[in-house]
């Protein structure tokens, strides 16, 4: 059987984690190719709906990462993001959405090793949990089947 290769998307801020991931590259630290990064100016920019869109377009896991508290390039964006995630995680849990599949982290521009760890551990965890079947049942792609939308 072919090994499950999860689709994982990482939403990261430009100043810390994106730069940290650059350092991972510069340091030639290897990590899994399952994770692909989308760059944001700041974690404060990451709308919660962006996470919903990732799952419904087939992501099995999500990484959200930015500057450590007090290190935000914009001084407070990550604090606002943190509050948003505290609330949103509560809501996701309450609606039965699997928050295990969302890894939040602080990775600074100096933490090239940490970025590789975050990626590898997330990939490992998602491989263990398996594909996000619940969400795949309602994914955008379900519309494209021959049956199409429900003709109730």
């Amino acid at each position: 059987m072919q090994e499950f290769e999860p689709k994982i998307v990482a939403f990261v801020c430009n100043w810390c984690t994106y730069a940290g991931a650059d350092l991972t590259g510069t340091s030639r630290i290897k990590y899994s190719a399952n994770v692909k990064i989308i760059r944001f100016p700041c974690t404060g920019r990451i709308d919660f709906m962006i996470l919903m869109k990732a799952f419904e377009n087939g992501a099995d896991g999500i990484i959200v990462s930015g500057c450590h508290p007090n290190d935000c390039h914009y001084s407070t964006g990550n604090f606002h993001a943190r509050r948003r995630w505290i609330v949103f995680r509560n809501l996701l849990n309450f609606t039965g959405i699997d928050t295990e599949r969302i890894q939040f982290s602080w990775v600074s521009a100096a933490e090239g090793f940490k970025w590789a760890d975050v990626v590898n551990n997330t990939v490992k965890k998602i491989k263990e949990i398996g594909p996000y079947e619940n969400y795949k049942k309602i994914a955008v792609s379900t519309l494209f089947n021959e049956e199409g939308a429900s003709n109730e």
């Binding site: 709906m49 919903m52 869109k53 509050r83 948003r84 505290i86 890894q103 982290s105 309602i138």
Partner: protein, 267 residues
């Protein structure tokens, strides 16, 4: 009762207000909102314990505002709505005459926001025990059970947006769901469209919901939507120390922060 009608008439007569938003008897034992602008209409104004609708949303309705100075018969939920709306610059102090209806049938005039704030400090604004129990029983379920529960509930949704229309905090002229560049929330009332819409709405009410329950009451498909926003009330209070609709100049819990906000999931 005649006391209330007399009061409304007096307010209309001395031009304190141009319209009084209150309750009247509706069809099939229902209670509904009324908008008294003259003596005849004032005669219909009614109040008893069954008058539970949160009328505050009407304060922002274009055609109601158009009458001029508004008066409202407010319950606790409406008072809190007014406070929250004030904190979001939708209502200014002095703009609305607020008559508060005690559940025992007596009435209190609130002259300013400050006195509303003071009153709210003394009264029970929490969510009902039965709702707390429903939340607790959902929380006790496994993640997958909760997913299935909400799947079944959202399946019923027809996207009539009665929840949004009934909610005093859903006053945006252009809801996220009506934004199509990009179309964040699918318009279609399929499973994903419904889930996205309700998650979005709950998140946008997090820290703003005054637990009036209008959304669930309004839902023609009997979806317990209020649980979604109610469930977020206590974590927001416990983690951030914030409760919506208690102060007219409150800062929204999600547009502020403390450097030491506690979480246990960010590595």
């Amino acid at each position: 009762m005649s006391e209330l009608i007399k009061k409304v008439k007096a307010l209309l007569n001395d031009k304190t207000i141009n319209v009084f938003v209150g309750y009247e008897k509706g069809s099939a034992d229902r209670i509904r909102a009324c908008f008294a602008r003259n003596e005849a209409q004032a005669n219909k104004v009614f109040f008893d314990a069954s008058c539970t609708q949160n009328l505050a949303g009407y304060l922002l309705k274009h055609e109601v505002k158009h009458f001029g100075k508004l008066g409202i018969l407010a319950n606790v939920a409406a008072l809190r709505s007014i406070m929250q709306l004030a904190s979001e610059f939708q209502i200014k102090d002095g703009e609305v005459y607020v008559l508060f209806a005690n559940p025992d049938g007596t009435f209190v005039e609130f002259n300013d926001f400050h006195s509303i704030e003071a009153y709210l400090q003394t009264t029970d604004t929490g969510i009902k025990a039965e709702e707390q129990e429903r939340i607790a029983s959902l929380e006790a379920m496994s993640n997958n059970e909760r997913w299935l529960f909400w799947n079944k509930e959202f399946e019923k949704c027809i996207k009539c947006y009665a929840c949004r229309a009934a909610c005093p905090m859903c006053y945006c002229h252009r809801c996220t769901t009506d934004v199509n560049q990009p179309q964040w929330i699918p318009v279609a009332s399929h499973e994903r469209g419904n889930l996205d819409y309700h998650l979005m709405r709950a998140m946008h009410l997090a820290g703003r919901c005054v637990n009036c329950g209008e959304c669930a009451t309004a839902c023609p498909m009997d979806i317990p939507l209020n649980l979604l926003t109610y469930q977020l009330i206590s974590p927001i209070k416990e983690t951030f120390g914030a409760t919506a609709g208690m102060k007219a100049d409150a800062t929204y819990a999600l547009s502020t922060y403390k450097p030491d906000d506690k979480e246990n999931f960010i590595i």
